[in-house]
């Protein structure tokens, strides 16, 4: 092994401990019965508690982008970038409007996968295929980006003691082991711990900056910055109001994707979601976005003026300003951010394909044990495919990664139909999604962001036209189905009021 610094050695040892802990959690949940039945494996027996689910939702939402590219973008953009942060409180509200209702519907109808809910409500087998298609379209490239990114980060942090390809492989194997052992339960438990590490890492980065330049100095110095950094469209000229708003909507729409439907089904109680929204997301992550991020970005301008490749800001802060123990926490936080996002999307792919394609289409008589094993095989296949893409489709990977959230956004109207709008029809939902996917692709790859509006929103606009248009001229689900859904929601709302009244 080549000679490396003490920082890199300590990082290497910490990473080994971290990986061992991840595998340990997988074994622990497996022994606790996380793979005993399909319900245990796919929705954690509907038993995830407040802390675990609260931080797991957060960790799935935030990728390593928050620690790397995000801080560099604040450096390059300045204050206009803050306008886009409206998505943070908006996601808190959106989560409350959709997670609790999905929880109740999932529990009352016994759904184990998002596709089951979509196809049962819309009374359409085709919905399962469409949901599976969209899920794979965004989960595979996203997982691929996270795993290869983790390889690069690990190679950098250990000064190439472990080549990046090997780093990515080790990371993938670790994630595979704990996801395959304990399904959603182990994914949630590891994600929750990783969420804490991620937040600690961000506080560590900010702490390193303000230890060298105080918030007061940062604020005073900003007055002498290029005025472009204080006014729209920002230092890099990208933050027109149309773009901030459309990107905020697109980012928020990730909550309507199947990965979060699985989290919704897995909760022990719907009250967990308000704790998650208020405490973990809007307040804690709000502080990260609205307070730490501008201090890091603008403080970074004072400490490292004239950066051209601004995404090197976080690595620079880590290597130049941090004592070794902070360096290790932030480094593990970075790896954790990538692992948690990849794990969330890997398990989603496994659940969707095994329940919605394999069991529904090919083996309706499959036992729980069989579907759990098929799910594991699918997760393995997804990871192998993700690696294949990263090696042989490298030039398309960034494009697919950029489109991933835009594709996930297209599921929003169909979910809105299930939760709120009884005129929604299977045809409107399915064709809306397909048209939305095509328009999102065209407004990214062919005509990029026309009128400075994000491609996800162009896709969503076209999707909604089809969704509402066909909603009025095609047949909705049977009256009995719509009445049953309304009845469940009405009774659930009444039961909550009763509980509150009883509490006084």
């Amino acid at each position: 092994m080549k000679e490396i610094s003490t920082h890199a050695w300590v990082m290497l040892v910490a990473a080994i401990i971290y990986w061992a802990a991840c595998i340990g959690v997988g074994l622990y949940t497996y022994k606790k019965g996380a793979a005993k039945s399909a319900q245990d494996f796919f929705v954690a027996g509907r038993g995830l508690g407040k802390f675990v689910l609260g931080f797991a939702i957060m960790a799935t939402t935030l990728s390593a982008w928050l620690m790397l590219g995000h801080q560099g973008l604040m450096y390059a953009s300045g204050m206009p970038y803050l306008v886009y942060y409206i998505h943070v409180p908006f996601m808190g509200i959106l989560g409350l409007l959709i997670f609790t209702r999905q929880w109740l519907i999932g529990k009352k109808f016994g759904y184990l996968s998002p596709g089951e809910m979509y196809s049962d409500y819309y009374e359409s087998k085709g919905m399962r295929w469409v949901i599976a298609l969209v899920t794979l379209l965004y989960c595979i490239p996203y997982s691929s980006l996270q795993l290869t990114g983790a390889g690069y980060v690990f190679a950098t942090l250990t000064e190439n003691a472990i080549p990046f390809e090997w780093g990515a492989v080790i990371m993938a194997v670790v994630v595979l082991i704990y996801v395959m052992l304990g399904g959603v339960a182990s994914t949630a438990l590891v994600d929750a711990a990783q969420g804490v590490l991620l937040v600690l890492g961000l506080f560590g980065i900010c702490g390193a900056v303000i230890a060298n330049v105080s918030p007061g100095e940062i604020l005073t110095s900003m007055q002498s910055f290029d005025p472009k950094l204080l006014t729209m469209p920002g230092g890099n000229g990208m933050w027109f109001w149309t773009f901030t708003l459309s990107l905020a909507l697109s980012t928020s729409a990730i909550y309507l994707s199947p990965a979060f439907t699985i989290w919704s089904f897995s909760a022990k109680s719907p009250r967990i979601f308000r704790w998650q929204a208020m405490v973990v997301w809007v307040v804690l992550i709000g502080v990260v976005y609205y307070v730490l991020s501008p201090l890091i970005g603008m403080g970074g301008r004072l400490l490292f003026p004239g950066l051209v490749k601004t995404d090197t800001l976080t690595p620079l802060i880590m290597t130049k300003l941090m004592p070794i123990w902070v360096y290790v926490i932030v480094g593990i936080g970075l790896l954790a951010a990538m692992n948690s996002t990849a794990a969330g999307y890997m398990i989603t792919s496994g659940v969707i394909v095994s329940q919605d394609i394999y069991k529904d289409r090919f083996r309706p008589q499959a036992t729980d044990r069989e579907t759990v094993w098929v799910s594991r095989i699918i997760i393995l296949a997804v990871v192998l495919f993700a690696f294949w893409i990263s090696q042989f489709w490298k030039e398309h990977l960034v494009l697919m990664g950029n489109l991933a959230t835009a594709f996930a956004t297209q599921l929003s109207p169909a979910l809105f139909g299930i939760l709120y709008w009884r005129r929604a029809t299977a045809k409107g939902a399915m064709y809306g999604i397909l048209v939305g996917l095509i328009v999102a692709y065209l407004t990214f790859a062919v005509w990029k962001y026309p009128l400075n509006i994000h491609c996800a929103i162009w896709g969503l606009g076209a999707n909604l036209l089809v969704f509402f248009g066909l909603g009025f001229i095609s047949d909705p689900p049977s009256q009995a189905k719509r009445d049953k859904y309304d009845e469940v929601l009405q009774k659930g709302m009444a039961a909550y009021r009763k509980e509150e009244e009883a509490k006084g």
């Binding site: 204050m79 943070v88 409180p89 908006f90 007055q223 149309t242």
Partner: protein, 74 residues
């Protein structure tokens, strides 16, 4: 939308107005190099948006009918 009471509908429209104003054109009014309350104008503007967002999240979490459900006996 039969499961959405009138008071919730009002708050949803208020949320839409908040999102559009603070996430979009409203920012143009504060797009200036000046400082407000010791912070750059757009930073202050964004923190106000966040504070209102915290209130709205609290309302939907604790006061709303549509985002609060409980299990019941069939």
């Amino acid at each position: 939308m039969s499961t959405v009471p009138a008071k919730d509908k009002k708050m949803i429209w208020l949320t839409v107005a908040w999102l559009v104003f603070f996430g979009g054109p409203g920012a143009l009014l504060f797009s200036t190099p000046d400082y407000i309350l010791g912070l750059p104008a757009l930073w202050t503007f964004s923190i106000v948006a966040w504070a209102i967002g915290i209130y709205l999240t609290w309302w939907f979490g604790y006061k709303s009918s549509i985002s609060n459900v409980a299990d019941y006996e069939d």
